[in-house]
Symmetry: C2
Subunit: 462 residues, 2 copies
C-alpha cells in the first residue's frame, strides 16, 4: 500500500491547526526543553509510540519499549537510524563489539522476522558484530531462515554460561531485547553479570511494566509541556483509570470496571461539553500489562462491561503467551480522523535513543475511527518523507505541510519517550537485586515507587 | 552538473579494491576503534576534508575546520545533518538557546552566502534561535540579502558588550565561527566571557593553525589505523615537509624550498619504485596557513621553485585577506583518478561532530589529475545517495558499489577529523589566557606543544 500523497486529516481545521501553529512557534523552547530533560533523564534504547489525532486532541495512546515493525520504516530513514543507533551504543556501552539480539519467541511470523533482520542491519552498520539468539525451545541449533527478497536470518539458541548469557560461541557485551517479556522473566536473563549490558532493562518488560504507571508519568510530562507551549494539557493527554484484581473468567471485578468506565465517560463528556466538541465519548479497556493489540475493548457505556459473554471474557482474560489479565487500564478513547484511501489510519513514531528515526501509518480498512487498529488485517504505510520528523517548514500555512504535521508527531513521540524514561527510573526499584529472582509481577517496592494505592483513580482527571 | 551515475574511478582495480575490501572486512574493528577514540578526543564542531584517490593511495590532503559549501550537500543529507548538529550542540552547550553565526567577511559571494543560509537552517532546526553577525566594516546595520530561490539572509553587525560578543539586541550562548580568521584574531573575539561558548576555538583559525601541525597529528592517526586494518600506512598518508622563514617577494628561503622539494620528490620516487608504481612524482607547495585554494603550486622538479617569476612570487606570497606567507608545507602530490563526465574530480567529505553528514565531488574541467581543483571554474556534484557514508553494502563485489566507496571516504574523513581533534588539543596551549591578547602567529608555546623544531623535516618520511 503506497500513499498517493499526504494522509487526509478529516478535521484538519480549527483546534488542530492552532495546536500545530503553537508547536511550530515554540520550536526553540520545545527543543531547548527536550535538551534539558535529556540531560536529566536517560532515554530507553528504542521505542515506538502509537498516536491518535482527532483534530481536537493529539495524544499518545501506547508506548512500546520493544518495538517490532522496524521493517515498516522507509529505506530512506536508515541513515539517520544508524546514526541514532551509534549514539545509543556510545551512551550505553561505548566499548561494545558484540551484540546479542533476543527477539520474540514466535519465530514463524515473517513480518516480525523482517523486523529482526532490519534491526540486525541497523546495529551491525555502526560496527557491531550482531547475532540473534532465541529463547524459543523449538530452536535447538543455529537455523537459517529465508526471508522474502532473498534475505537470510540466522537464529541460534540462547545459552547461559555462568552468570553470562550468549550463544554457544558468542559472548556479547550488549544483550538487546526485542522480546517484551510478557511470559515473565526467563531464567536465562536473571542475575546477569553486571558487565553484560542488558537493554532495555528487565523491568521494562511486561512481566513488571504497567501501562497505568507509564501514563501516570506521562501525566506529569504532558502537564509541563502544555504549560511550556501554553495549551490545555487535556489536548495532548488521554484521561485514564485503573482497576486491579480483575478476573474476567470468574467475573470478578466487573463492578469496579463498570464504575470506572462510567466515571471516565462522564469526565470526558464534561470536557467535550466545555469545549463544544460534538462527539460521543468512548473509552478503551485494555490489559494494564497488555501488548500486541490483544485484550482490548472499545466501550461507549458502562453497561457494556457488565455481564460479558463467555467469548468476550475469554478474549479479555488472556493476553500474549497465556499471561492472565488481572489489572486493566481504562483509557479515554481518542478517535482518529486521519484516513489514507478512505481507510482509518493512526501514526506510529519510531525512536532510537532520543531521536525520531521514522514512522508509518497503521491503516485498517475494516475498523472504525474509535477502534483499536492494531489487529489482524492492518497495513503499514511509511511516512512520506525520508526522515521528515526533524525538518519542519515554519513558513508553511498551518495544515498545508506534511513536514509540519510529522514534526508535531515527532514532538509527541519524544514526549511519550520522555515519560517512559521517567517511568523506567521510578520502576527500577521493582527489580532491585534482592528481588530479581522472583519478581514476576508488580512488587510492593514498585507500587511504593509509583505512589500507587490499590483501587481506583482517574488519572489526569484528578 | 548532475552525475549520470557513480563517478568513474579510472584505476578501479588492484590496490584500491584491495584497500576497500580491507576496510569493509574490518568494519567492526574500525567502528570500535573510532568509538574508543571519540571517548578520548573531542571532535571539532564541524569540518570538511579534501580527499584524493589515486587507486594506489587514498588520503586526505586538506582539513578545513570552518567548512563553507554546506549548500553543496544534497537536500537528502539534511535530516542526518540536523541530527548531528543536535549532538554537537548537546555536547558543547546543552543549555543553549541562541547562536550567533559569524561568517567570512566577503559577504558578496552568493555561493558562500547560500552556505551560510544552509547553516542557519541546519542549526535552527534543532531549536536554536540563530542570527548571523558579520565582522565586515561595510555592514553597519541589519541588512537583508536576497538569495537565488527567493531565500533571504539577514546579516547584522557584530557588537561587543563588555566581555561578551553579540548583536545589538542579541546575547548568544554559542558563537559559531564560519570565519577561518586568516586575517588574524579580531578584537571582538578576544578575551570573551568563558560562559559564552566559542566554536571552533580561536586556535583553530589560520591566525594560529598550521597545516604542518595538522599533518603531524595525522601521521600518528594514520599509523595506528594502518596497523589496525593491516595496510601500508603510506597508502593513506601523504608525505610532507615544511619550510619556515620564507619570503617570496624578497626571494628568501628559496634554497630551503628547493632542498625540501628535492628530498621529498626523491622519497616519493623510492616509494613508487618499491611498489612498482609507474608515475611521475609531484609535490604540492602551499602556504602552511593557507586556505581557499590560494597560494598553491604543483611542482615536479626542484628547479621549478628556484628563480620564480615576479607573477609566481606574488601569487605565492599572499593568501586570503592579505596574510603574508612565511611558512610553506611541501606535500606529496596524490593524483586523482576519479572523473565525472571526463572532468577531474576529488571527493570532499563533510562532518558535524563525529558524524559524516554528506559530501560532494569537486570537479574541474580545466585542471589535470595532479593539480589543485579548489580554483575558479570548479563545480560541485553532491554524492549520489542521501547519506551513503554510513551504509556500506558488505555483500557487494569490491569496486562495484558506490555505497562502499563512499563508506571508505567516510572512514577517511573521520580519520582526518580525529587528527584535527588531536591537533586542537595539542595546540590549545598556544592561546593560553595570558597570550590571548596578542597571539597572531605560532607562539613559542605552540611550537613546543607540537615538538616542532625550526627548519626542515620530512613528515611521515622520517
Amino acid at each position: 500500500m503506497q500513499p498517493s500523497s499526504v494522509p487526509v486529516l478529516a478535521s484538519a481545521a480549527g483546534p488542530v491547526l492552532e495546536f500545530e501553529r503553537r508547536i511550530l512557534d515554540s520550536m526553540t523552547d520545545i527543543e531547548h526543553w527536550f535538551r534539558q530533560n535529556w540531560q536529566e533523564h536517560t532515554p530507553p534504547f528504542y521505542g515506538s509510540v502509537d498516536l491518535r489525532n482527532s483534530g481536537f486532541k493529539l495524544a499518545p495512546v501506547d508506548m512500546n519499549l520493544f518495538p517490532g515493525g522496524f521493517n515498516n520504516l522507509s529505506e530512506d530513514a536508515l541513515p539517520c537510524a544508524v546514526q541514532a543507533a551509534q549514539v545509543a551504543i556510545e551512551r550505553n556501552c561505548p566499548d561494545a563489539r558484540k551484540l546479542l539480539l533476543i527477539p520474540e519467541r514466535h519465530t514463524r511470523n515473517v513480518f516480525y522476522l523482517q523486523n529482526v533482520a532490519r534491526l540486525v542491519r541497523l546495529l551491525a552498520t555502526p560496527g557491531l558484530e550482531v547475532r540473534v539468539g532465541t529463547l524459543s525451545p523449538d530452536v535447538t541449533k543455529p537455523s537459517a531462515i529465508s526471508l522474502p527478497g532473498g534475505e537470510r536470518l540466522m537464529v541460534e539458541p540462547v545459552r547461559r554460561h555462568g552468570d553470562r548469557v550468549g550463544l554457544e560461541d558468542f559472548d556479547p557485551c550488549i544483550v538487546l531485547l526485542n522480546n517484551d517479556l510478557s511470559a515473565g522473566i526467563p531464567p536465562e536473563l536473571r542475575g546477569l553479570d553486571p558487565t553484560q549490558t542488558l537493554l532495555p532493562p528487565l523491568h521494562a518488560g511486561w512481566a513488571v511494566r504497567r501501562k497505568s504507571n507509564y501514563f501516570r508519568c506521562y501525566d506529569e510530562v504532558a502537564e509541563q509541556f502544555a504549560q511550556l507551549i501554553g495549551v490545555d494539557p487535556w489536548t495532548i493527554n488521554p484521561l485514564f483509570a485503573r482497576c486491579g484484581m480483575i478476573d474476567f473468567r470468574e467475573k470478578l471485578g466487573e463492578e469496579c470496571l463498570a464504575l470506572n468506565v462510567d466515571r471516565l465517560l462522564s469526565e470526558i463528556r464534561d470536557r467535550y461539553r466545555e469545549r463544544d466538541i460534538q462527539q460521543k465519548p468512548f473509552v478503551i479497556v485494555k490489559a494494564d500489562a497488555g501488548t500486541y493489540g490483544m485484550g482490548i475493548m472499545t466501550v461507549r457505556d458502562a453497561s457494556e462491561v457488565v455481564g460479558l459473554s463467555r467469548k468476550q471474557r475469554n478474549k479479555m482474560a488472556v493476553v500474549k503467551e497465556g499471561l492472565e489479565v488481572s489489572d486493566v487500564i481504562i483509557q479515554e478513547g481518542v478517535p482518529t480522523y486521519e484516513t489514507i484511501d478512505q481507510a482509518v489510519a493512526e501514526p506510529v513514531v519510531y525512536m532510537i535513543d532520543r531521536y525520531v528515526v521514522g514512522g508509518f501509518y497503521r491503516v485498517h480498512r475494516q475498523r472504525g475511527i474509535d477502534e483499536n487498529l492494531n489487529a489482524p488485517g492492518m497495513e503499514f504505510v511509511p511516512l512520506a518523507f525520508s526522515n521528515p520528523c526533524n525538518l519542519p517548514n515554519v513558513q508553511a500555512e498551518p495544515g498545508s505541510s506534511a513536514q509540519n504535521r510529522f514534526y508535531c508527531y515527532g514532538v509527541m513521540g519524544r514526549l511519550a519517550l520522555l515519560a517512559a524514561s521517567i517511568e523506567l527510573e521510578r520502576t527500577a526499584a521493582a527489580l532491585a537485586p534482592t528481588s530479581v529472582g522472583d519478581a514476576e509481577g508488580l512488587s510492593p517496592a514498585l507500587s511504593h515507587a509509583m505512589g500507587q494505592t490499590p483501587g481506583v483513580r482517574v488519572g489526569a482527571a484528578s
